[in-house]
Symmetry: C2
Subunit: 131 residues, 2 copies
DNA sequence: CTAGAACCTGACGTAGACGTCAGATTCAAG
DNA sequence: CTTGAATCTGACGTCTACGTCAGGTTCTAG
């Protein structure tokens, strides 16, 4: 498929796909013209790249680890790097969970405060109305 | 306390604290000089700000929501915004969990592949040693 | 053949949370 | 009073994953 179709199928922009190629995350064939051609498997690969980006990995790190994730093979050094990233993601999940729980509490309390106490007051102006 | 001490206590840089003030996230008294003075409660506040930054909130959003989180009070609009952020964080947690689980699988498989199959091979050349 | 869509390669712009340097002022200690 | 540490206010630099524009080539439909 061509780059426009890959972009449509994956939901990422054409610009992003070219960027991935520049970062050596994605390769394309050039069949006698300057236009890129991708195999169907490119869809999965792009989605995997996106997933790793969202997990906070940088291009450089993804370049290193992507072959491992695809092949389930790694050198000891790469295995360390994989483990480090997994642990980092684990800590991030823990942090986010604490934050979400805190927001949950705030939402619950604020809702109750609105219902019981100064209900309609707040809706008018965002400025603090005294006491 | 002064800005250097607050930085030391919270682990964030002096520059970051000034930036927070510029973004209206943090206020300081100026006792007859140009130097900032913070109350002890500033430590908690800075840590809360950091927590929200790490959760992916932007300065603008934190400015809106910080009073709610501190006061447990919100207008309906702010309550919507709080809920939206909580949900976004929830989705992020779900995504990260999937990614972490995938990395766990990769780590397990790659470790087994190393131990059972071409163990010391990988360090030298990635070529598979035939079945 | 021709128009328009899709694609190409640079190359500069963007946003966010600071880092860092310059030059001046202020504080704490001796 | 003097000196060094801490702080002050700009203001430009950084890093990353793209967005966007310019100017040109290629593909596809009619």
């Amino acid at each position: 498929m061509r780059i426009g179709e890959l972009a449509a199928r994956t939901g990422v922009s054409v610009r992003a796909l070219r960027y991935y190629e520049q970062q050596n995350l994605l390769t394309a064939e050039r069949g006698s013209s300057s236009h890129r051609r991708y195999p169907p498997s490119a869809v999965d690969r792009v989605q995997l790249i996106q997933q790793l980006y969202q997990a906070g990995l940088t291009s450089r790190t993804i370049v290193d680890l992507l072959p491992c994730v695809v092949d389930d093979r790694a050198t000891p050094a790469l295995l360390d790097q994989l483990t480090a990233e997994r642990d980092r993601i684990g800590r991030h999940i823990a942090d986010l969970t604490r934050t979400r729980d805190r927001l949950d509490t705030v939402i619950a309390n604020a809702t109750r405060n609105m219902l019981t106490g100064a209900a309609c007051r707040d809706a008018g102006a965002p400025g603090p109305a005294g006491s």
